[in-house]
Every structure is written in C-alpha cells, then in structure tokens.
C-alpha cells in the first residue's frame, strides 16, 4: 500500500465515523462503559494486592504467647525447640516488660493509658519469623504442640481473606468484562454494518474498478478502531479524574494504615493506559472485522 493511500483511508474512516455519528456515539459509549468497569476492577485488584503485600511484610511473623508462671529455664528450652523447627528464619524473645514498652510506643500519645496498670497483662512471647508465609499453617500447628505455649497468633488469616477477595473480584470481574466486551464488539459491528450499507454503491464500484480487498476494507477497520480508541481514551480520562478524587479523599480523611498501601494515580495510569488503548482499538478492530466478514463481500 502506498503512503498517500493511508491518508485517504484515514480520511474515509473518519468520514464514515462522522456520517453515522449517533451509532458512533453509542459505540464509543459502550467501549467507555466496558473499560471503566474493567478499570474499577483492575484498580480494586491492584490495591488489594498492594495491601496484601504490605500486610504480608508486616506480619510474616508469628507471635507465640507463653503460659504464665513458667520459669526462665523452660522459656529458654522452648526457644531452642522453636528454632529447630524447619522453615523458621529467625526468632526473638519479647518479655512481658518489653511487650508493654512496645505497646506504649505503638499507642503513642495514648500510651499514658497503660501507665496505671497494676499488673502487666501481657504474656512473655517469642516472635517467630517464617521463611515462607505460605507454609505458616504447618509451623503454627507445631508451635501449638509445644509444652508451655499458650496461644499462637498469626495474621495470615487477614492475608488469606484479602487473597480470597481478590480472587473473587477477579472471577466475577472477568465474567462481567467478557460480557461487556462482547456487547461492545457487537455494537461496533452494527455501526460498521450501517456504514457498509450506506456505502454499498461505492464498494460496488470500487470492486469493479479493481480495488484490492484491503483497500476496500481499511477504512472500515480504521473506523472501528477509532471508535474503540476514542472510547478507551474517554475511559482513561474518566478513571483518572475519579481516581484522583477518591485518592485525595481517602488519603486525607482516613487512617494511615490503609492509605499507605493505596496506589497513587500515576501508578494506576501507567498500568492502565497501554492495556486500555490496545484493548479499545482491539475491540473496535474485531467488531469491524466480524461485521465485514458478514456484510462486506469483496
């Protein structure tokens, strides 16, 4: 194909797009809607993943509380037993007093509330660091079996829940997205069908004069891809505005604990832009190709 033909085809494609602008709007709208939903799902997944990662880092430790009133010798024995368990990276002893000090620190300005305690309610404990969080359950059950161990606390539950939620969102999201994309393809296909019908005469003449198949097809393909591309650009813009708003709101209004893991706008955009543009033009191209196969006999 020659360079100047490319110009001709883009011109024709845009002309088609303008000619049935109502259908073009509907097509763009459907792509935008589908991609916004996809965006929401991706944003949820990305953020939950980030949260899960962060939580994992903080809580890849298991806290082993010891029974009250066992002597120092037994405590040391327990420490040795724990460090012999397979899959343990490191182990640290935290006495009742240290635990209280740490809690005071963590509570910060509210730390004075702990001053008035008559007895220290916190137990002695070992903090056990695992090599692999995935294997925590076996380690935990071994720890529970040790004499003198009162309770084993682990935050894997939270992580598991988060992972479950992401998996659920991923599955439901995938189904919704597939349906929405199919609808978009269908609507774009219909738009192209209208264009093909409107240009039947022209296509007929082109055929007789000896235009190559692709010369005839390109403008329709361009029209479809443009619809998809405009739709995805719109979706990106809307998501950008909405996410920035929500991000600002959450980071200024809510607890630091969560907001620390909330991904910044820039990062989300970096993740979305390429996917969206490819997906948008892909949806458009697919819609027009399917439609041309059915309605454009060359």
């Amino acid at each position: 194909m020659k360079i100047r033909s490319i110009g001709y085809m883009i011109k024709e494609g845009l002309k088609n797009l303008w000619r049935n602008r109502m259908m073009s709007l509907a097509s763009i709208g459907s792509v935008t809607a589908a991609l916004i939903i996809l965006g929401i799902i991706l944003i949820l997944i990305l953020n939950i993943n980030s949260l899960a990662e962060g939580v994992k880092e903080q809580f890849d430790a298991v806290q082993v509380y010891l029974e009250e009133g066992i002597d120092q010798g037994r405590i040391e024995e327990i420490g040795k037993e724990i460090s012999q368990i397979e899959g343990i990276k490191d182990i640290k002893y935290e006495s009742k007093q240290e635990a209280l000090e740490n809690m005071k620190k963590r509570w910060g300005e509210h730390g004075y509330l702990l001053e008035g305690l008559e007895t220290n309610p916190l137990p002695n404990s070992y903090i056990v660091f695992l090599e692999d969080v995935q294997q925590s359950s076996t380690v935990v059950s071994i720890l529970q079996g040790i004499q003198g161990v009162d309770e084993v606390k682990f935050y894997k539950d939270i992580i598991d829940k988060l992972i479950n939620i992401t998996n659920f969102i991923k599955m439901v999201g995938l189904v919704i997205i597939v349906i929405l994309i199919a609808i978009s393809i269908f609507i774009i296909g219909n738009t192209i069908k209208l264009t093909v019908a409107a240009r039947r005469r022209e296509i007929n003449i082109m055929k007789y004069v000896g235009a190559t198949n692709w010369f005839i097809r390109w403008p329709f393909l361009i029209e479809g891809s443009m619809l998809g591309l405009i739709g995805s650009a719109l979706a990106i813009a809307l998501i950008f505005i909405a996410y920035r708003y929500v991000y600002d709101f959450i980071t200024t209004q809510m607890y630091v604990m969560i907001t620390a893991y909330f991904l910044p706008v820039q990062l989300i955009l970096d993740n979305l832009i390429v996917i969206f543009l490819i997906l948008g033009s892909g949806i458009g191209a697919l819609g027009s190709i399917l439609s041309m196969r059915k309605y454009l006999k060359v």
């Binding site: 033909s5 005469r201 007929n204 003449i205 004069v209 000896g210 235009a211 190559t212 198949n213 010369f215």
Partner: protein
C-alpha cells in the same frame, strides 16, 4: 484477448444459464452480445468480471487463465476490464470529476497522474464543461458518458458494457455508441450486451447471438437478427 472454453453455468437454483459456450474475441474487436431476455448475456459479462464462476470450462483473459485464480488476484484481473452498466452507477455525492478520479484513486494512481488523466478523459467524452457538476444535474446520456470515462480512465485493454443504452433514448444512445466505437478504434476491445436492434444493425460489427444459454449465431459483420 478473451476466450471462453467450454463454459457452462448452472446457478444454485438449477437454472442452466450457459451451456458449452466456446468463444474467442480478438484484441481490438467490437462485439455485440444479443439474444432474448434470459439468454445468458449478463451471465457472460459477470463471468468476465469474476463475479460469477463457471460450473465448467475455462476463461482466458489477456493470455491468462483466470478461472481459478486466487481471490487476492481478482482485483488485478478486474483492472484489465472497464465496465459500464445500464444504470450508470455514479456516486451521487461526488462531482463528475471526482467520480472519474475515484477510479484512479482506488488503484492508487499518483495525484499527478490523476490531474493529467481525468481532464483528458472528460474532454474525450465531451464533458469538460460539466466537471464540477453532480450526477443529478446531468442528463442520462451525460451520466452514461461519465461512467464510460470512469471505465476507461485507467486504460484497460477491455471495455465491457451491459445494455449501456438501455435507459437512453435513440439519439442519446447513438451518441454513446459513437463514443464506444471511438474508444474501440483506439485499440480497446469492446464487448457489449444489448437489446438495441437499430444500433446493432447500423454498426455492422461482430454479433454473437445467445439463446437459452447456447451460441446460436456468430457473424463477423452481423445484424441484430430478431424482430424487437
């Protein structure tokens, strides 16, 4: 230039449109295809345009067997034949000039070639003054001349016309015939399917008569041969 070898065509509904047609048309000939309605004239035209495939036999155009060529090569075959229809088939939203230029754009001619060739064609068909007019502003004869200009603007060796005067009055038809003859004199092979008895009788060119899908007559300088 055109050769049909043992061509038969049976349409999907069972109609036998052509049976065992053997034809040879030399370069530079002017050939009329005549015969009653349903005889198979348009079927032959469509076959030459690769719009209809024969059930049997071979089609040779310009020394190339085009019977079973690849789909992708069909456009190249079509560039060897200009085509004119009874209903002109002009684009209503393009001017006369643009309609003719369109045929060149489609085959990716350069703008320079287009600027040179289109005015030449328009002057040949006598429509230089109407270059900026739209089809609806033209008479039937003028529209047909535009469609002829479009058919030959890319200089195809063959011009095929299916009842080009079917919608025109006798005087206008005659103008069109003179134009076709002029194009033929430049060396273009012309094949024209028609019902116009007067024209065929007056032109004294080769006449191939079809009936029920069979060639019943093939005369070097013939007449129409039927009473209309």
């Amino acid at each position: 230039m055109i050769e049909l070898v043992n061509i038969s065509k049976r349409y999907k509904n069972g109609v036998m449109a052509l049976s065992n047609i053997n034809l040879k048309i030399e370069k530079g000939e002017f050939v009329f295809l005549v015969g009653p309605s349903g005889a198979g004239k348009s079927t032959i035209v469509k076959m030459l345009l690769k719009e209809v495939a024969p059930t049997q036999g071979r089609i040779i155009i310009d020394n190339e067997d085009i019977t079973y060529i690849h789909r992708r090569k069909v456009p190249l075959v079509r560039r060897k034949t200009g085509v004119v229809f009874q209903d002109f088939r002009l684009l209503p939203n393009k001017t006369v000039y643009e309609n003719v230029a369109f045929a060149m754009e489609i085959v990716e001619a350069s703008p320079k070639e287009i600027r040179r060739q289109v005015p030449m064609m328009l002057s040949m068909v006598g429509l230089s003054k109407k270059a900026k007019a739209y089809p609806e502003q033209l008479s039937g004869g003028e529209q047909q001349r535009v469609s002829i200009a479009r058919a030959i603007v890319n200089n195809p060796p063959i011009l095929i016309a299916d009842e080009p005067t079917g919608n025109l009055d006798p005087d206008t038809s005659w103008e069109i015939m003179k134009l076709l003859r002029q194009i033929n004199r430049r060396g273009t092979t012309v094949v024209m399917a028609t019902h116009a008895k007067d024209i065929v009788d007056l032109m004294q060119q080769r006449v191939i008569a079809l009936e029920n899908g069979l060639v019943v007559r093939d005369e070097k300088k013939g007449g129409y041969g039927y009473e209309n």
